[in-house]
């Protein structure tokens, strides 16, 4: 241990600790911009500078390791003056349109400008005047706002191994750009949106489509139907001043009715349905010697990744559509018929933790209902904005039930929101289908948690099924390389594109660290435990749809409405 003194407080920290870490351990807050708790040290913004006794120059706290007897001062007039100048310089070429910015009041630069009371900036204002990039249906880039911290580059390269973002030029001319300086759509971008969480400012965001929803609600001839993805509920509270997990599902539903949705249904219903289809698909592949390992297909960022980087493994993907798209195809067929509503009048809106879902719903093949299956995808953040705009007081709002036929769900659907959840839900059902015995303990703890790669073995009547789970695409890549090399020992692999699974999706409330993802994961299992029914095949509405409409898993109707195919992206460069 190393003894240091920070602002007069003596402490001892492990060797190799930086000033920043040492200060954090005793509750001394040092401002940062380029620093990210889950990423490598960058040391490029310099806003964390401190005075070290005996040093002529200021030291950047995020990079400077402590030494025995080091004395640091973090709040001297010299330090404050330097930090103010650094902020003024950054702000001198950062657009001053905070009022119109997607990150207004949720921006690390804006917060520091407030904390350091930047008033009259002595440096003249000069932005680069670069064009915004709206080339993808999911993400936009506003490169003028970029402060060159490079956090998005690390999220895209190290965390996701997508490498759609890189640096162009250097020094004063440096810019973060998609591959070759092209538009984002031409890069290998999979639209997972992890760059949004990494960005301290508003240089990257989701393509906002709130106005399209408001127009549909305003039209008296349109029936606006919504579905809520499993991961949304645990995080939506964060958008309206509640703690993670603190918005009860029935209150959330009531809030959506306040906004003007005509029918509130649940993606959890089709999550349960996915288990029936995908579980049976797995059994069929095991019995008939189909392509193994089978990969889950719920995460559209992952689908994009597989289509981009592993087109040779598309046969391994489950043919099941994602729960969102299953819902879309059924809402305008089965549900419309049951509810006696003209499907042509239905405007199908899904509320997702995900940015890639915005792209997924626009895929040309997603029209098996005879219409566009899902008309609009709004992220958790966009719904948060709608709630704030509508001024709903969630403490006083009475809960509301979900509407019939596609609103019931089980704990198995709830856990789709976390890494390992699809696998656990599938095992709960597959076990009972294969063994014919009741699964007493439904908790497969080994599949849970934020760990990048997890593996398990399940004995199904003497057949040992090996499964693996990856979250974050660089972890997925490890498993895919094994499959490509023919060395993968697994039968079934669950992949979620985003770290921690959908709870850490690109459309979730801005997520500053993996610690927040862990908090949301824990809430997912609290919700699962609270569910009366925790196995997908026991969902009464799922039973009903098979009796009345689909008749059997993998049957003719399922094949038509619930299954799909994949195509290689053939990107120009990777």
């Amino acid at each position: 241990m190393i003894n240091v003194t920070i602002d007069g407080i003596k402490t001892s920290v492990p060797e190799g600790s930086t000033i920043l870490k040492a200060a954090e351990s005793i509750g001394v807050k040092i401002p940062t911009l380029c620093n990210h708790p889950d990423q490598a040290v960058k040391g490029n913004c310099r806003v964390c500078v401190c005075e070290v006794e005996g040093s002529r120059l200021l030291s950047a706290a995020c990079v400077m390791p402590v030494w025995e007897g080091m004395a640091v001062k973090t709040r001297t007039p010299k330090v404050v003056e330097a930090r103010k100048t650094i902020l003024e310089l950054i702000l001198s070429n950062h657009p001053q349109d905070c009022l119109n910015c997607i990150r207004n009041q949720n921006c690390e630069l804006q917060t520091l400008a407030e904390e350091y009371f930047i008033r009259d900036n002595p440096f003249s204002q000069k932005t680069r005047g670069m064009a915004k990039d709206y080339s993808t249906p999911a993400l936009f880039r506003d490169p003028d706002k970029c402060i060159l911290c490079r956090r998005c580059v690390e999220a895209c390269s190290v965390v996701q191994s997508v490498n759609a973002l890189g640096l162009d030029q250097r020094g004063h001319h440096a810019m973060v750009v998609p591959t070759m300086g092209w538009d984002l759509i031409d890069s290998p971008c999979v639209m997972c949106g992890q760059c949004i969480h990494a960005c301290p400012v508003g240089a990257i965001g989701e393509v906002e489509e709130i106005d399209r929803l408001l127009a549909a609600i305003a039209d008296p001839d349109t029936v606006v139907v919504t579905q809520i993805a499993p991961a949304v509920r645990v995080a939506i509270g964060e958008e309206v001043g509640l703690a993670t997990g603190d918005m009860p599902m029935d209150v959330f539903a009531a809030g959506l009715r306040q906004i003007g949705f005509d029918y509130v249904l649940h993606t959890n219903f089709t999550a349960d349905l996915t288990i029936l289809e995908e579980g049976n698909e797995l059994l069929k592949r095991l019995q008939e010697g189909g392509t193994l390992p089978m990969f889950t297909s719920c995460s559209p960022g992952w689908i994009n990744f597989c289509e981009t980087f592993y087109p040779d493994l598309l046969d391994n993907l489950s043919t099941c559509k994602s729960p969102q798209q299953m819902f879309g195809a059924l809402a305008k067929t089965y549900w419309a018929e049951k509810s006696n509503i003209d499907p042509a009048k239905i405007y199908s809106v899904s509320i997702m933790p995900c940015t890639a879902k915005k792209y997924e719903c626009s895929r040309p093949e997603m029209n098996d209902s005879g219409f566009r299956d899902v008309d609009l995808v709004l992220t958790t953040r966009e719904i948060g904005r709608l709630f704030r705009m509508s001024g709903i007081d969630f403490d006083k709002l009475a809960g509301s039930h979900f509407d019939s036929w596609m609103g019931a769900y089980t704990g198995a659907a709830v856990i789709f929101g976390a890494s390992g959840g699809v696998m656990e839900a599938a095992l709960r059902t597959v076990y009972e289908v294969v063994t014919g015995q009741t699964l007493e303990n439904v908790n497969f703890e080994v599949t849970r948690g934020i760990q990048g790669i997890k593996e398990a073995e399940v004995d199904l009547n003497g057949t040992v099924v090996k499964v693996a789970i990856a979250n974050g695409l660089s972890n997925a890549r490890q498993l895919m390389d094994e499959v490509r090399a023919g060395t993968s020992p697994y039968h079934f692999i669950e992949i979620m594109a985003c770290p921690g699974g959908c709870i850490g999706g690109g459309g979730q409330p801005i997520t500053k660290s993996n610690a927040k993802r862990v908090e949301r994961i824990n809430q997912i299992y609290v919700e699962d435990e609270a569910c009366e029914i925790r196995k997908s095949h026991e969902n009464p509405e799922v039973k009903a749809i098979y009796e009345e409409f689909l008749h059997e898993p993998l049957g003719h109707q399922s094949h038509h409405l619930l299954h799909t195919h994949y195509t290689a992206k053939n990107k120009k460069v990777l």
Partner: protein, 147 residues
């Protein structure tokens, strides 16, 4: 020689991407996108990273430019010795501004940092060959060598 052949020659050189880029530039006088993409494949780095390398170094250009690259020193000793007049003369003679290339694809005009020949300023280089004590009136003769 095609860019593919040029890049392949450096495939086994550790960190050979920079040498490969130099060799491509020698042939094409800039780095075409296809060459950057090919280098990314050969050296097993993401294209975004290969592009980052190509755009980082000022000797490389990712834009098309003239075959003969004229670089003029913009450091202080050349500046004092009258670099501005040399710039004006080059621009007039070639009919282009600094940073541009001639329509016939023969010449590109760029600034560079000090090339280490401060004993005989102003200095220009053409394809890395230095010309010392340059004055506006000798420029037509220098350029004639490359026409």
């Amino acid at each position: 020689m095609s860019y593919k052949g040029i890049i392949a020659r450096y495939a086994e050189v550790p960190g050979g991407i920079i040498e490969a880029f130099h060799a491509v530039e020698k042939e094409f006088s800039f780095l075409p996108e296809e060459a950057i993409a090919e280098a990314a494949r050969v050296f097993k780095v993401p294209a975004a990273e290969a592009y980052g390398v190509a755009s980082f170094y000022s000797m490389f250009s990712t834009e098309t430019r003239g075959k003969n690259i004229i670089r003029l020193c913009e450091s202080a000793p050349c500046h004092i010795a009258g670099a501005a007049e040399v710039v004006a003369a080059l621009e007039k003679e070639l009919g282009i501004r600094m940073g541009e290339s001639t329509n016939d694809g023969l010449f590109a005009l760029e600034f560079t940092e000090c090339v280490g020949q401060c004993q005989a300023t102003p200095v220009i280089t053409i394809n890395s060959k230095p010309y010392l004590d340059v004055t506006p009136d000798i420029i037509p003769n220098i350029l004639a060598e490359y026409k």
